[in-house]
Each structure stands twice: as structure tokens, then as C-alpha cells.
Amino acid sequence: MELIIAAMIGLLTCCGVFLILRARTFAVMLGLTMLSYAVNLFIFVSGGLTAGAGAVLGKTSAYADPLPQALVLTAIVIGFAMTAFLVVLAIRARAELGNDHVDGQQPQEPR
């Protein structure tokens, strides 16, 4: 299970970084979302991977670390708010600047 989770986080980060480097606002937005998914998964497993264990004491004999679950919840909520803001900013930038490059202007074609 560790290998699958680690590979998943790696793949998501990889796609996220690739998309961010595309330097177009929509791609960058998707990239940041993927990166934050990767980060959220990473926080989630930082308390160790346990199967079939409860998060509340007294319900099961084995229990999982509840703190990363609380942390990841906070991180998800904040991530949503930030993405929402970024969407609005990107739309505004597209309207004001007339293109969707993050620098606000089309890059010069290399000769």
C-alpha cells in the first residue's frame, strides 16, 4: 500500500509541476489543484498508514492518528478558497490583458 500511495503522490506532483510550467492561467490553475491534491494526500499519510483503524478512541482496539486528518481538512478548505480566488483573478486577467499567459503578454517566438 505504501508504494501505491507514494507513487500516486509522486505522479500527482509530477503532473502538477508540468502543468504549472505551461504558464497559461488555466493550465497553471489545474496544476496547482493537482499539486494541492498531492500535498493533501501527503499530509494525510504523514501520521502513518493504518488499515481498518478508527479515528475516535474507544470504538476500535486499534486507532489511527487523528491529527493529520484534522490538518488535511483545514488544508483542503483553504485550498478551495485559494483556487476560487485564483479562478476569479485569472478571468479578470484574461479580460484586462487580452491573453491567458501568466506574464500578461504572449512570449516572443524563438527564432
Binding site: 504549472i20 496547482l32 490538518l71 485559494m82 480566488f85 486577467a93
Partner: protein, 496 residues
């Protein structure tokens, strides 16, 4: 009541901001101003009371009364109280100035300022690394809103870079947090400091990489050399009030470095003691160098002041790296001075630009200004303070800096860099001042009224700079006690 003093600098701004969002206040300008004046005034009084109260020892405030290290804690000691007072004073200056113009343009401007104050104060007061992240996000989302305040192409372009960089920074911060939690099993800063000495060799590698990530995140906030690209354009494009209060933002990065790295990698941390210190000194000195280049290349006053912010940030970063008690107290004095001075300079530049009409803040000859004499004296005052000429606070700050690194291995590099940079600031500011104020074109002054609020904001900040000179002795005692206090590792857990 007094036991709850530590949380009030966070609560008062957030309540004020929430009230300011109500339709009644967005429709009534006077009510809005009275409310935000009450909010700022109350926060200032509380911050000062807190600063006096912590003289009898730091406080650990347990939120919800959960025992440390399991619950979330706020830590109020001299260091955090100093920065809370500083941020409140600066925000009041920006607020007074903003009442003249920004507030009339946009009813939610004041609410955003209060949210920013809440985030900044929270970042200074929290004793928990995850809450540091949360407060970072609070202050960032308010700063995003403030940065695009007023609109316009260039502002949107600068904001895009600022927002994207900070979002990536937040992702890295979370990665670092998760790595640290997985190895240390705690996110309370002082508790982490206790556990770090007991790590095995293989765990130390992971903690080191997490600390490297944290260095990047805080360096991004403080505009440390490879991550400084956002600062000049953001500060140049932001509206003047926003640029003024943003003078605080780089200090949040400096404070976090100071708090987190001093506690985590104290002399008790075994192998990891002093992690990243020499890297910080080098990065700080190089930041000063790049700031000098930006300074010499700037054709208008806004980018000139942005370069000065970058320079003070570099100076502070290298001092954090040297990291002795005497450098830390010099650092505190210089941080307070440079924040207020650069903040005031941003306001003054806008007063100049307002009066000169189309010419704006470009360093070029123009006609006489309407309030030529008052503006000129204010410029001379601030320029002297920033360069570090006696008898103003910059002089005291720079003497302290130079003295405090004496005997360390970085002494000569630091002295050379700081003195050469100061000389160049002197040259650049004299050139700018003389071409704006002395080499006048003939003709009647243009009539572009400067509102009384704008003068009030500037005067408030200038008065606080003067207070910094007159109260230098007690303040320095306070600061050296502060640095002795927070350099003592692990005090908070024991105090709890």
C-alpha cells in the same frame, strides 16, 4: 480579563472586519471610519498593554484550555509583542492615509485592512506551526485583495505573479509541515524543539529537507535572493496604502525564520544545531547586492523605495543568520525602524506624485509643488533616517548592526556590504531629492490637492519614527531582553 490579552490582538481586528462587511457600514462612510478607528485604537491599546505585561515573563495562552502540547497555543513574549505593536502602528498610518482616497473608492478596503492585521498579528502570536500556516493564508488572501485594489492592467499582472508564487509557497509549506510531523509527532514549535535532539541519523535527513523547504517558504515571504522577483513589481504596482502596509509582509517572513529556526535548531538540537545559518547570511548579503542594483536602475521613486524594502530585508536576513543575542536585539530595532521608514516613504512618494500630476513619481524635473516646503522636509527627514545619518533612528539602528557583528566570522563581509550599500542609498536619494525638489522648471505650481488624511497618515508614521529615537534606550533594553528570552530554547513548554 487580563489573562485573555494574548488573543485579543487577533480577535478585535477580525470582529471589526466582520462588522465592516455588513451592508450598513458599506453604505455609511462615517460609521465605517468610526468603527475602524475604534478597531485600530483598541488593537493598539491592547498590543501596548500586552507588550508591557509580557515584561514579567512570556505567556502561553491555551486555546480552549487544552493542555500543551496537545492543544493549540498562542505564545506572547517580548518578541511577538514587539511585532504586534509594530504592525498595528504601521496599519494605523496606512489607514489614516487611506481614508483620504482608497476608502472612498472601495467600501470594503477597510475590512481587508483589518483582516490583514488579524492575519499578521496571528502569525506573530501563534506557537503552533500549523496555525502559522493558517494565519499566513489569512494574511495572504487579504493581501491578494488589497494588491488588486484599484484595478488596472499592471496591477493585475503583478498580482498574478504574487498570487501564483505564494500558492506554490503554501504547497511547499504544507509539505514541510507533513514531513516534520511525520518525524517529530508534534507541530507545536517549542515541543518540536524538544524532540529534535532525539532523532536518529536517518530521521535527521528528513527533518533537514523539511527545514530546507521551510527556508524556501519563509525566504519567499522575506524576498530572499532567489525568491525576490515578485517584490519590486508588486510594491511598485500596489496602491500606495497597500505598499505601505506591505512593508510589514517581508517582516512576517523574517519573524517566522527567527522564531521557528531559533527554536527548532537551537544549541540543544544536537547534530542539527544552527541549520541553515551560513546559508542565510550569504543569501542575505546577496539580497542586499541585488537590491543595490535595483536601486541604481530605478527611474521612479516607487521602485526606489521597493529596492529599499528589499535591502532592509536582506540586512535582516543576514542578521538572522549570524544569530547571537546582540545581533538579534540590533535586528529588532532595525526591523522596527526600517518597516516604519519604508512604509512612510511609500506614503510620501504618493504625496509627491499627487502634487506633481502627470509627472507622477518619476525622478525628473518638474514644476514647483503646492506644498513644496512641507514635502521637502518630510523627504529630507525620511531620507536621513533611511540612509542612517545621525540623529535619527536609522543611525542608531545601523551602529547597532555594525557593533553586533563585531567578532563574528562574517564581520568584514557584512560591514563592507552594509557600508557600501548605505553610501549608494545616500547617492541615489540625494540625486532623486535634488532633481525633484531643487532643479525646478519655471511655472506656477499645479493645484492637485492633498487631503488632510494623507498628511495625517504620514505624520503618524514620522512621529512614530521620532518616538523610536527618543525612546531608544528603554526600547533597546526591551529588545535585548526579548532576544535573550527567545534564544533560551524550550521555555514555552516548561512555562505551560
Amino acid at each position: 480579563m487580563l489573562n485573555h490579552l494574548a488573543i485579543l490582538p487577533i480577535l478585535v481586528p477580525v470582529v471589526t472586519a466582520a462588522l465592516l462587511l455588513l451592508p450598513y457600514f458599506s453604505a455609511h462612510q462615517t460609521a465605517r471610519r468610526v468603527l475602524s478607528a475604534t478597531g485600530f485604537g483598541l488593537t493598539l491599546v491592547i498590543a501596548l498593554a500586552l507588550a508591557l505585561q509580557v515584561q514579567s515573563g512570556g505567556q502561553v495562552y491555551l486555546l480552549g484550555d487544552w493542555p500543551a502540547p496537545f492543544g493549540i497555543v498562542l505564545v506572547a513574549d517580548r518578541l511577538s509583542a514587539t511585532f504586534v505593536v509594530l504592525s498595528t502602528v504601521l496599519m494605523i498610518g496606512g489607514w489614516l492615509y487611506g481614508c483620504g482616497r482608497d476608502d472612498t473608492q472601495e467600501p470594503f478596503f477597510l475590512a481587508l485592512l483589518h483582516f490583514l492585521l488579524m492575519g499578521v498579528n496571528g502569525a506573530f502570536l501563534t506557537g503552533d506551526l500549523f496555525n502559522l500556516f493558517v494565519f499566513f493564508e489569512v494574511l495572504l488572501i487579504s493581501s491578494y485583495g488589497l494588491l488588486i485594489h484599484g484595478g488596472g492592467k499592471n496591477r493585475i499582472r503583478a498580482a498574478m505573479h504574487y498570487v501564483l508564487l505564494n500558492l506554490i509557497g503554501s504547497a511547499l509549506f504544507l509539505l514541510a509541515l507533513a514531513l516534520l510531523y511525520s518525524q517529530l509527532g508534534s507541530l507545536q514549535i517549542s515541543d518540536m524543539g524538544l524532540r529534535i535532539a532525539a532523532l536518529s541519523e536517518s530521521q535527521q535527513w528528513i527533518v533537514q529537507s523539511a527545514a530546507g523547504l521551510l527556508l524556501i517558504v519563509f525566504g519567499l515571504k522575506a524576498a530572499m535572493l532567489p525568491f525576490h522577483f515578485w517584490l519590486p513589481s508588486a510594491y511598485k504596482q500596489a496602491s500606495p496604502v497597500v505598499a505601505c502596509v506591505f512593508a510589514m509582509m517581508t517582516k512576517v517572513g523574517i519573524y517566522s525564520l527567527l522564531r521557528v529556526f531559533t527554536t527548532l535548531f537551537s544549541s540543544d538540537a544536537g547534530q542539527l544545531a544552527g541549520f541553515g545559518q551560513s546559508g542565510l547570511v550569504i543569501a542575505g548579503l546577496l539580497t542586499i547586492a541585488i537590491a543595490v542594483v535595483v536601486l541604481l536602475a530605478s527611474a521612479d521613486l516607487r521602485s526606489l523605495v521597493a529596492a529599499l524594502v528589499l535591502m532592509s530585508s536582506g540586512t535582516l536576513l543576514s542578521l538572522v543568520g549570524v544569530g547571537t543575542i546582540s545581533t538579534d536585539s540590533a535586528l529588532l530595532y532595525y526591523a522596527v525602524h526600517s518597516t516604519l521608514a519604508t512604509g512612510a516613504m511609500f506614503l510620501l512618494v504618493d504625496i509627491i506624485a499627487t502634487q506633481r500630476g502627470n509627472l507622477g513619481d518619476r525622478i525628473a524635473r518638474g514644476r514647483r509643488m503646492q506644498h513644496q516646503v512641507a514635502t521637502g522636509w518630510a523627504f529630507a527627514f525620511l531620507a536621513l533616517a533611511i540612509i542612517g545619518m545621525p540623529p535619527l533612528s536609522g543611525f542608531i539602528g545601523k551602529i547597532l548592526l555594525l557593533q553586533s557583528v563585531t567578532g563574528s566570522s562574517w564581520q568584514f563581509a557584512f560591514w563592507a556590504m552594509l557600508l557600501v550599500a548605505s553610501l549608494l542609498v545616500l547617492i541615489v536619494l540625494s540625486r532623486a531629492g535634488s532633481s525633484i525638489f531643487w532643479r525646478l522648471l519655471p511655472g506656477k505650481p499645479a493645484v492637485n490637492p492633498v487631503s488632510i488624511w494623507q498628511w495625517a497618515g504620514l505624520t503618524w508614521l514620522l512621529a512614530s519614527l521620532l518616538a523610536l529615537v527618543f525612546a531608544a534606550e528603554p526600547l533597546l533594553q526591551y529588545f535585548s531582553a526579548a532576544s535573550a528570552e527567545f534564544s533560551l530554547p524550550l521555555r514555552h513548554v516548561k512555562g505551560a
